[in-house]
């Protein structure tokens, strides 16, 4: 039990950190809906994997990437806005997921399989997955360190960066691969419906707290809220995914409000003296 709790805490804090970090980049590069579509692509992949009883994570990852590449192709070749393409494919993924779940040959009720994928379960966390998560974290840190100047240039102004010869597609794809990776590893833990709260929640608080080091703030908020969510879920025996999602959303709101109040307080002090 304790081992399970520890594993859940590590998994949740590491993935919360990675998602928080990624979320800030996705938001700043206006790829938020793309991340959303990738998450649903992963969900479709996972459903198909369950239907055909093959590896859930690998198929989720492959489908996430496939959806991202389709969106990029629609965007580049057919001039379709990324947001529009993302929402279009999001419905496609959801439909595929529902049909796959419906067709799954099993003794379980359809709703049981659905709940496994959509709500998440703590039981799917294994040591292997934790190592995988740490590997993704390490890869992402190395990537952002290696391309720091290029990434900053992209975040400052992507069009200018493009005009200077920076390969935007490469970096967009790298971020998508990281997102798809973390999403597919965490899909059955947090649940497909709640995963993006981990990506978007910390981004909200990061943008309200600071202009510099947003990615770091996002990672910290995501990580702390992830731990808190696991503890609350264990203590009150609540579904893990939903509790983590609520924890992240609440923390993001708290962080945003506190930083707002602090900012107002500082201004008032400045005006009074």
């Amino acid at each position: 039990m304790i081992a399970l709790l520890l594993e859940a805490i590590v998994a949740s804090s590491v993935s919360g950190g990675i998602c928080g970090y990624l979320g800030v980049y996705l938001q700043r590069l206006k790829l938020i809906t793309l991340g959303f579509a990738v998450a649903h692509g992963a969900l479709a992949g996972a459903s198909i994997a369950i239907m055909m009883s093959c590896n859930v994570e690998i198929l989720a990852f492959a489908f996430g990437i496939l959806i991202a590449m389709t969106i990029e192709t629609l965007h580049a070749k057919f001039n379709v806005e990324r947001d529009l393409a993302s929402m279009f494919l999001f419905s496609f993924s959801s439909a595929v997921a529902i049909i796959a779940i419906y067709l799954t040959p099993t003794m379980l009720l359809t709703s049981d399989i659905a709940s496994l994928l959509l709500w998440g379960s703590i039981l799917v966390i294994t040591l292997g997955k934790i190592i995988l998560l740490l590997a993704i974290l390490a890869a992402m840190l190395i990537y952002t360190r290696a391309f720091r100047l290029e990434l900053n240039s992209l975040l400052f102004d992507s069009r200018l960066a493009e005009s200077e010869g920076i390969n935007i597609e490469f970096h967009a794809m790298a971020l998508i691969v990281f997102s798809a990776g973390i999403i597919s590893v965490m899909l059955r833990f947090i649940g497909g419906l709640l995963l993006f709260s981990m990506i978007f929640g910390p981004a909200v608080s990061a943008t309200t707290v600071t202009h510099r080091r947003q990615a770091l703030v996002g990672a910290l908020v995501g990580s702390a809220a992830g731990i808190f969510g696991v503890l609350v879920s264990f203590y009150f025996d609540l579904p893990i995914g939903a509790t983590i999602a609520l924890s992240i959303i609440t923390s993001s709101i708290v962080v945003a409000v506190v930083s707002r109040l602090y900012h107002n307080f500082r201004i008032r002090r400045l005006l009074n003296y």
Partner: protein, 229 residues
């Protein structure tokens, strides 16, 4: 002599637009030329620069930049260019200092994990002094005035040591007294480094006697072309 820009019967349009933004442009610019592009609003000046940098494709005709066919070679061409965009302004909350913004210009030349080399630091320092911005370099970029931001962007383009410099209204926020100074600075850069410079400007006066050619656009056509030599 080699050409920096060659356009043969080039026409282009913006995606999703039914209008032709430039039509039947024939233009050759020699390497090392200093060229002024002028014309009324909507004439196609910015479009011309976007074509050269590869943001737009020629729908008709052939375009070569620095001897390379466009848009196929746009990644290589972009690394050899410096582009200062029109009306480039950032809001106060932009999370980078002016110096950071300048240094980003070097990003495409860096290998992963590379930092700045000593000669690059010297170069940056020289450029900043030359443009009179070494005193504002540590301020947040977005809090600088319009003219200061414009100088920073010019510095960013210059530290890339481009073969071809594309400047879109680079003086629009620069005070009148400094404009002539800047025009002369560009003239010196051209003379020292043989940089080809295309500058778009409504205010032709500070540049007229320094440039090798003046190109006048209107409604997507070249309506006048003057070359000194």
């Amino acid at each position: 002599m080699e050409y920096a820009v060659e356009m043969y019967n080039v026409s282009t349009a913006y995606p999703k637009s039914n209008d032709v933004a430039l039509s039947n442009i024939n233009l050759t610019v020699l390497q090392g030329d200093f060229v002024l592009i002028t014309g009324p609003n909507g004439a196609g000046k910015t479009t011309l620069l976007e074509l050269i940098i590869g943001f737009l494709k020629p729908l008709r005709g052939a375009l070569y930049v620095l001897g390379l066919k466009m848009p196929e070679n746009r990644m290589r061409v972009r690394r050899m260019c410096g582009y200062v965009m029109q009306n480039f302004m950032k809001p106060p909350e932009t999370p980078y200092t002016a110096l950071e913004v300048v240094l980003m210009g070097l990003a495409p030349f860096k290998k992963p994990f590379d930092g700045l080399s000593e000669w690059e630091k010297d170069l940056v320092e020289n450029v900043l002094q030359l443009l009179g911005i070494d005193n504002i370099i540590d301020k947040p970029f977005g809090t600088l005035s319009g003219g200061q931001q414009q100088r920073i962007m010019l510095a960013r383009a210059l530290i890339r040591r481009p073969k071809l410099l594309l400047l879109d209204e680079p003086f629009s926020s620069i005070d009148r007294e400094s404009r002539r100074e800047f025009a002369e600075l560009l003239y010196d850069i051209r003379n020292s480094y043989k940089t080809t410079i295309l500058v778009v400007s409504h205010d032709t006066e500070p540049l007229e006697d320094l440039v090798d050619g003046i190109i006048k656009l209107k409604d997507g056509h070249i309506v006048d072309e003057k070359w000194t030599s």
